[in-house]
């Protein structure tokens, strides 16, 4: 048994020894220990180093609010920095290291910062490092030079770069009542609601239910409070309408009573079970929330209050009662309220010597005097601690007479020898979630604390959260909350019998002892009382300015320890009451949340993959795939040793010479059905569709309401009231929403249904001089000759026994056809076409060849319809019907949209026969050193096998007017400059004779 471990008591399992490693040294603890309790039991007092001064720090608390004892947990290569030792349950093989120190925790060179003391006061960064106005270090250079070192000195733990192998999961939950916190109030609330048959979730951030009952040492219904809590939790487990969530922090209270919680499922396990997530991220939509989140004990602010060995009183009580650990042998207490006396007695019972109770209050109640007497502690009422002694561990402290009213110290300082000093500055209800929910806290003078605001969402408070610190009050609160949460009014219940020590919850309004030396308000960030007063002197008096100027409350404990003391010191400096200084509004998260848990199922799988019916065929046949949004499409079908350019040139060439086939299943397809479908199309397209004959298709252009180009595609009339609209792959979703909006909101009188059928159809575009012959060879049930299947005609037939729909339209500029069939038959039909094409030299081609041929034809895509171009800019004004209004028609002629200097679509030919680059700009006057006066840019480019030249499409000021003129490509980013000729965007077969055949 280790020196500091009592041989009985607590909920640890002394029969189970657990081995772990801290800073390389092996230690043992017991099942049920936290890293903090186990290290304390081993006599460790030094846990970490502070942020700014690198001061040695011990453990301050026993819970989630711990600001000092932060460590990095190692799981192989994976690092988890900045975890409070008080929240880590030890397991065999646990490996943790301390942080922010070099070379070691006990010898840290960063500690020299302490010498800088007063210079490194709040806001000092803002006042210096501006550097010289002239010379090599002018501008930002000097600061950046200094910053380099400042950054390396700052920061806490080190994050790893090894990918985390753990899994994270999301869980959506719905319930009638969510109870947050499982102290006596929460337990009873959950029980009351559960007994009423409501769906209940009980969340507790610690591993065990019961909260303060686990360490209060009280007796409830004639059994130790801890047993009572265990029994009550056990009773809940029996019901199937309640879900118990231990190790679960409810960290966010969002709109609509939606709460976010983090369940640490396997952090306490040596190895997680198969498929078990490390963290589970609960999104809980609760009809009502019961907030039973308890309260935090506040530190007192006095010189040396950060020395290892100085601890919160209740924390020591917890270590003794819950873990059987004594934080010291000779313990003293320093308090402004009664709660510390119970701690004194508990520690005495656990075997420590209580050397003194220093109380700022001149008068003490007889009960407190009795308790102190029972603890055999000297009472120093009307006294205060003015200094602590020792190096990296407390050896003693000094006290002086203290006048509570004036704050004045008097008499000689007396030294007291102790290895542990406990402080209690009163209690602050944990109102974070209520504040997140949207309302402002209210100051309670008697309790010297902010109490929960009026509910702005559906929550009910209970217990210490309400400032009701007595267990009996908490239990009554909890029951009422649980019942009213489900709208029930239960029969009056018999008061539980509770044996607890006396104590007045009202603290004396003392937060700071002013004496020589650094008195810490925010321990982790090393914000001292002097820093707060400096902020006041410099006018940073609003609580937000205080926070931002001194970084008070911005450490990992988010001000759980420092908020109220900081406010109090500012209030005193201003001579105002605390509420007039204000409180900062709490925002999510209540405590830090692993980013992995928030990414949840998307960690390692950020977006689903969208696959065409022929996907596997493409892979099996050597396609290199290209991610187009969520889709995967073949980029090229490369032969061994081919470069991308060689591959697409081969594919495009072969297509123009014989035939090629490409998967176009990704095109957006929308079934548009109903008596008003044609009328609707006339309104959404710039050109006329009501005149389209059944069995024919037409190319259409859509504008946005503001008159700019939106999307294009062909729409097929399959029946009088039945159209199939195709959109670009990228805009399929946008167009669908666009159509739905107009049908639902603008023209509800139109009888049209739109349905996404993108995935219903597999599509293959087959084009080239031999395309018709290939179809003729495999299509049955219809002819495909010019008479039966003219340009933009549609026929139905079969390929390899599968019904297909064939439309003769061309993107490549060749005689081409789009063949559609049920997606489930996609590969079957594709293979049949490829087979039929073999004798004709058919090639499969990908996006690169598709792009090449469309550039040669001068067709536009998303690179040109980029949300800033008009139909005119793209020379599509021939599609703007003057016979009817359509979306965008009223606004497309506004001055800015017809200005002469707009960017217009043109073609470019590289006169130096070198490759062009997408995104290169075009200039009239070449200036490689200082490029300027761009007249436009390249939107797409390729080597054109048809022309044997490097060509591009571009958007150029003046556009058409420049056809035939010369300019220069200017691409300083890639140092590519050279002469070009500006030509029409229709490079290839401008009169379309090839596709019309």
């Amino acid at each position: 048994m280790s020196p500091r471990r009592s041989d009985a008591g607590g909920r640890i399992d002394r029969l189970r020894t657990i081995r772990f490693i801290f800073d390389g040294a092996p230690y043992t603890g017991h099942a049920g220990d936290t890293l903090a309790s186990a290290l304390l039991a081993n006599g460790v007092s030094l846990f970490g180093r502070s942020f700014k001064y690198h001061r040695p720090r011990g453990v301050l608390s026993a819970g989630v609010e711990e600001p000092n004892a932060l460590v990095t947990v190692l799981r192989g290569e994976v690092r988890e920095p900045n975890i409070a030792a008080t929240m880590i349950e030890i397991y065999d093989g646990l490996t943790a290291v301390s942080q922010n120190r070099f070379p070691s925790l006990s010898w840290d060179v960063g500690a020299v910062n302490q010498l800088g003391g007063k210079v490194l006061s709040a806001g000092f960064y803002y006042k210096t490092f501006m550097g010289p106005v002239f010379g090599p270090l002018k501008g930002t250079r000097f600061w950046m030079f200094c910053e380099h070192f400042i950054r390396r000195a700052a920061g806490l733990g080190r994050a790893g770069t090894a990918p985390d192998t753990a899994r994270y999961e999301r869980m959506n939950a719905f319930c009638d009542v969510l109870v947050v916190g499982s102290g006596p109030a929460g337990l009873i609330a959950a029980k009351a609601a559960t007994d009423q048959g409501a769906r209940v979730i009980l969340a507790e951030l610690e591993p065990h239910f019961g909260g303060s009952a686990n360490w209060s040492g009280e007796v409830i219904d004639d059994m130790p409070a801890a047993d009572w809590a265990a029994r009550t939790a056990g009773q809940l487990e029996g019901h199937d309408n309640v879900r118990l969530l231990p190790r679960t922090t409810v960290w966010g209270y969002y709109d609509g009573n939606t709460l976010a919680a983090l369940e640490r499922v396997t952090d306490h396990k040596e190895t997680p079970g198969k498929g078990e997530p490390r963290h589970r991220y609960w999104t809980i939509r609760a009809k009502t929330v019961v907030l039973a989140t308890g309260s935090f004990e506040r530190p007192l602010v006095f010189p040396g209050n950060d020395r290892p060995g100085v601890m919160l009183a209740h924390a020591a009580e917890r270590y003794a009662n819950e873990y059987g650990v004594l934080p010291g042998d000779r313990i003293a207490l320093f308090t402004n309220n009664d709660s510390a006396y119970r701690a004194a007695l508990a520690l005495k019972k656990a075997g420590a010597a209580i050397v003194a109770v220093v109380d700022v209050r001149p008068e003490l109640s007889s009960e407190m005097r009795e308790l102190a007497g029972e603890a055999e502690a000297e009472i120093l009422s009307g006294h205060a601690v003015v200094a602590t002694e020792g190096g990296k561990a407390l050896s003693g402290f000094k006290v002086q007479r203290f006048d509570m009213e004036s704050g004045a110290l008097s008499g000689d300082a007396r030294s007291i020898h102790a290895d542990c000093l406990l402080m209690s500055g009163g209690w602050s209800p944990t109102i974070h979630l209520a504040s997140q929910a949207g309302a402002r806290a209210e100051w309670n003078e008697a309790l010297q604390a902010f109490l929960p605001p009026k509910p702005t969402q559906k929550w009910i408070g209970a217990g210490a959260f309400n400032g009701h610190f007595k267990t009996l009050e908490a239990i009554l609160d909890g029951r009422n909350a649980g019942l009213s949460a489900v709208g029930a009014t239960g029969t009056p219940m018999a008061y539980p019998s509770i044996e607890s020590l006396p104590g007045d919850p009202r603290p004396a309004p003392v937060f700071e002892i002013k004496a020589a030396g650094k008195s810490f308000v925010d321990f982790q960030h090393d914000v001292t009382a002097e820093d707060v007063r400096l902020a006041h002197r410099e006018g940073f008096i609003s609580v937000e300015h205080l926070k931002r100027y001194t970084t008070l409350g911005m450490a990992t404990d988010q001000g759980k320890n420092s908020n109220i003391p900081g406010l109090a010191i500012m209030a005193e400096a201003l001579g105002k009451p605390i509420p007039e200084v204000g409180t900062t509004r709490f925002r999510p998260p209540y405590s830090a949340v692993s980013i992995g848990s928030l990414a949840a199922e998307r960690f390692g799988d950020i977006k689903p993959e969208r696959l065409t019916p022929m996907h596997d065929w493409h892979i099996a046949n050597g396609a290199t795939m290209y991610a187009a949004g969520l889709w995967y499409r073949p980029m090229i079908y490369g032969l061994s040793g081919e470069t991308i350019e060689q591959a697409y040139v081969r594919e495009a060439k072969a297509t123009r010479e014989s035939a090629g086939i490409v998967d176009v299943s990704t095109l957006g397809k929308i079934a548009m059905q109903g008596p008003d479908a044609a009328e609707f199309l006339d309104r959404v397209y710039t050109n006329m569709f009501s005149t389209l004959a059944v069995g024919k298709a037409r190319y259409g252009l859509m504008l946005r309401e503001d008159g700019l180009a939106f999307d294009d595609g062909t729409t097929w009339r399959l029946g009088e009231q039945d159209f199939l609209m195709t959109t670009t792959t990228a805009n399929a979703g946008k167009v669908m929403q666009h159509l739905e909006y107009y049908l639902d909101v603008i023209w509800p009188e139109l009888k049209v249904h739109v349905t996404s059928v993108t995935d219903e159809w597999a599509g293959a575009a087959i084009g080239g001089p031999k395309a018709r012959a290939i179809l003729a060879a495999c299509v049955t049930g219809t002819a495909v000759d010019n008479a039966t299947l003219p340009f933009m005609g549609i026929v139905r037939g079969k390929i390899a026994g599968v019904p297909v729909m064939i439309c003769r339209l061309s993107f490549s500029g060749e005689m081409a056809f789009e063949v559609y069939c049920g997606a489930g038959y996609g590969t079957h039909v594709w293979e049949a076409l490829v087979e039929a094409g073999k004798p004709f030299g058919l090639v499969t081609y990908g996006l690169e060849a598709l792009g090449t041929m469309r550039i040669e034809k001068g067709h536009v895509t998303g690179a040109e319809i980029d949300g800033r171009t008009t139909a005119r800019d793209l020379h599509l004004d021939w599609m703007l019907s003057r016979k009817k209004p359509f979306i965008g028609s009223a606004m497309m002629d506004r001055e800015g949209l017809i200005a002469p200097d707009r960017l217009e679509l043109v073609g470019l030919i590289a006169l130096d026969n070198r490759p062009l680059n997408g995104g290169a700009h075009v200039v009239e006057v070449l200036d490689e050193a200082n490029p300027h006066d761009s007249i436009g840019h390249i939107t797409a480019c390729c080597y054109s096998p048809a022309l044997g030249k490097h060509i591009a499409l571009a958007l150029i000021k003046g556009g058409k007017a420049r056809h035939g003129s010369r300019a220069f490509v200017s691409d300083p980013l890639r140092n590519r400059f050279g002469p070009i000729e500006i030509v029409s965007n229709h490079f290839y077969d401008p009169d379309g004779s090839r596709m019309h055949g």
């Binding site: 733990g157 080190r158 976010a260 100027y549 830090a592 992995g596 998307r602 977006k607 939107t939 300083p972």
Partner: protein, 419 residues
């Protein structure tokens, strides 16, 4: 007031820091001023500063309804860059960049502007071409920009997943070296101190409740601290523009107010030395000098004046973060907050005279406001002083929407939440 310097720090340290004076006075408002600037945020304060410094107009009051810098200047992710696509934006933000580069000296206040670069990642060839188009546009206006290969990027940001196996592999990026980050609060405080030293009255806790009119003309404001008259009344209240314009009887504007969330992780030793943006979603990240990872993503996507975030965006942002940095799954998000953005109809700001006589309007900053702070104030001061825009803000008129002269860097049209 005393200059700030290493020397003054030492001197005060010796006297126990007892002699530091307030960074700015806390005057009561006078009955009238030459210019009232409504809004004690970055833009309002810089406007006052440049009115005094560049135009000698010092009889100026800045009215702030709450505490100084309580708006977006204290709620952003501190990125400063001028890597825009369209010339009007690039020219304006480059002017801002130049002011940033000397701001700490100019203000005698270290705003910690750290030019650690801003890198936009590309994940497809098409995106790479778009970045090239933008980078070249910048270069043709004399702004620094360079393309980076995946190898360069891997060297610059070792923690980044550049493996080809990523769902959206990094294939390159566009870097602006002169971009960087600054200490956001310090910018507000530095401008406040600078303006105050030149005689500007900075009046906190003074909410404007209405406008004084003489016919159409704005002649002053009513506030929670009384009536204040002024020859010129300038609005710099981005985030609250809708509310304040309503007080002037104008309830329709080409603006929607949206919440943008930002996040900070716990302090870490340096791991990301630049500003980085994701190409397949909306995500940006940098690391503060204190070691916190500072990052954000998309707007919540609906009108709001509440500085409250919504959960789906939190999840979205974190998953994008881990798509780039799978090693950071165990790092923890420490704080989140929401800022209210003026989202304009083309994603670009408005800095103009009017719309009412005697009124001057500065709004529509979307989420580009912080980096714009110096140039916004500089151009607005010019516009107020000379009653005409400077060439840098001439394109940012209120009537450009009607005239079809939008400046739409993202090409999204009149859908504010998409900009």
């Amino acid at each position: 007031m005393a200059e700030y310097s290493a020397f003054s720090l030492l001197k005060n340290a010796l006297t126990g820091n007892k002699d530091w004076k307030p960074a700015w006075r806390k005057p009561d408002p006078k009955a009238s001023y030459d210019v009232i600037v409504i809004g004690g945020g970055g833009h309002g304060l810089s406007t006052a500063y440049y009115l005094a410094k560049e135009h000698g107009i010092t009889n100026v009051a800045v009215l702030e309804k709450g505490w100084l810098g309580s708006g977006n200047v204290g709620r952003n992710t501190t990125a400063v860059r001028s890597n825009y696509l369209l010339p009007a934006n690039t020219r304006f933000y480059e002017h801002s960049m130049k002011l940033w580069e000397n701001l700490s000296h100019d203000l005698n206040y270290n705003v910690m502007f750290s030019q650690r670069g801003c890198l936009n990642l590309a994940h497809t060839p098409a995106q790479f071409d778009d970045l090239a188009r933008r980078g070249n546009a910048m270069r043709h206006l004399g702004v620094d920009a360079e393309l980076m290969t995946t190898a360069d990027i891997a060297r610059l940001v070792p923690a980044l997943d550049v493996s080809g196996s990523a769902r959206f592999p990094v294939i390159g990026g566009l870097m602006q070296r002169r971009a960087g980050t600054a200490r956001h609060d310090a910018v507000a405080w530095g401008y406040a101190r600078g303006a105050d030293r030149r005689g500007v009255d900075i009046v906190e806790n003074c909410e404007v409740t209405g406008f004084l009119r003489d016919g159409d003309r704005i002649t002053g404001v009513t506030t929670t601290r009384g009536e204040i008259r002024a020859k010129k009344v300038a609005l710099a209240v981005a985030g609250s523009t809708g509310r304040v314009m309503q007080l002037a009887g104008i309830d329709h504007m080409p603006i929607e107010s949206h919440v943008l969330q930002a996040f900070v992780s716990e302090s870490l030793k340096p791991i990301i030395d630049t500003i980085l943006t994701f190409g397949m979603g909306h995500f940006y990240i940098s690391q503060s000098d204190k070691g916190g990872l500072v990052y954000g993503g998309d707007l919540d996507g609906y009108n709001s004046y509440a500085q409250r975030g919504s959960l789906p965006i939190v999840d979205e942002v974190m998953s994008e973060m881990l798509a780039l940095f799978p090693g950071l799954a165990r790092v923890r998000m420490l704080r989140s907050w929401g800022g209210v953005c003026d989202m304009s109809m083309d994603g670009s700001p408005i800095i103009t005279t009017g719309p009412l006589p005697g009124m001057y309007l500065n709004c529509g900053w979307c989420y580009g406001g912080f980096k714009a702070t110096p140039a916004s104030g500089w151009c607005f001061a010019w516009t107020i002083a000379k009653d005409e825009p400077h060439e840098f803000n001439a394109p940012f008129t209120l009537d450009r929407f009607y005239r079809g002269l939008v400046i739409d860097d993202k090409g999204q049209g009149a859908t504010p939440r998409m900009h």
